[in-house]
Symmetry: C2
Subunit: 155 residues, 2 copies
DNA sequence: CATCATGTAATAATTAAAGTTACATGAGAA
DNA sequence: TTCTCATGTAACTTTAATTATTACATGATG
């Protein structure tokens, strides 16, 4: 699947896990995310290492949320995903020796850095619990019940 | 070439043009940017349409700067390039009907929007003249002369 | 009119990301 | 035990987007 970002994919998964108590398999999560089970495992691997989710093998196995949603922020999740770049610019090689290029890159880099810091600061102020509350507010506004969140995916 | 961004490529070209009075060919600019002459023409096409540069055919032809560097900002250049996305996130399709995904995307979109606005605001406050001045300051700090800027590229 | 240089469309190549396959590991059920 | 389920991961394939290249037309200059 062509996702909007790793972070949004991970959050989507986490919010689904938050709705369920029993373990959810990678296959089910993959369908919700319109992607492949292996991609789910790879994505969640980083979150498991940080203890945000837990995985269990065998019958009745799958993924479960394993953290206090109020104390984990989007910034934490982003870090657990390996801090992928949020900006459409890559680090300059700096190896050309061209002063013009160096100056241009330095100027742009500074600006992009500030924007990225702003994003990360924002992420640090949004907890999983807040995101979850937002979802339920939207659900209520649309007249649905929490239970319906589980069944909102396409045919 | 794998560039850091369209904007940095364009600025690199513009700063080189600023150092020269005579027209510079796409071929020369392509070498400075380690790319292909056609890519240079495609990149500069947008800037020419806005009148920031001028192109001339035939003998002695090439590209020349055609604007007041103090009154053109990085934001102007970015716009002339077609306002390519500055963020590593794409617009969500919104078509899944999944409330969870919608809420996640809405939250992230808001944050990314703010970051992009910050970047654009920054770009609006940096003129080509300021960037040029920065380059010369760096050159002086390194003990070079303005003339050397022309010859700073790799073998 | 030969050469130089841009203008632009069309095509090829490259690259990064995502999807998929394959197989190993471990947990529970029969 | 042994079979099935589910994750863990490496290797590989596919896909999409970007960039590079080719090809040819247009116009300017010597």
């Amino acid at each position: 699947m062509r996702r909007t970002s790793k972070l949004s994919a991970a959050l989507h998964i986490l919010m689904h896990l938050a709705e369920r108590d029993a373990p959810v398999t990678s296959e089910v999560l993959a369908k919700a995310n319109q992607t492949h089970p292996v991609v789910i495992r790879q994505t969640l691997a980083g979150l498991r290492d940080k203890g945000y989710v837990r995985s269990e093998k065998g019958h009745g196995g799958g993924w479960t949320l394993a953290c206090d949603m109020a104390s984990v922020t989007l910034h934490d999740i982003h870090t657990a995903l390996g801090s992928p770049s949020l900006l459409a610019i890559s680090e300059p090689s700096e190896a050309t020796g061209c002063l013009v290029e160096q100056a241009v890159n330095a100027s742009l880099h500074q600006a992009f850095q500030a924007a990225e810091s702003l994003l990360l600061a924002h992420f640090g102020q949004v907890s999983l619990a807040m995101l979850s509350a937002d979802i339920h507010a939207r659900s209520a506004a649309r007249g649905g019940s929490a239970h319906h969140l589980e069944h909102a995916h396409r045919a």
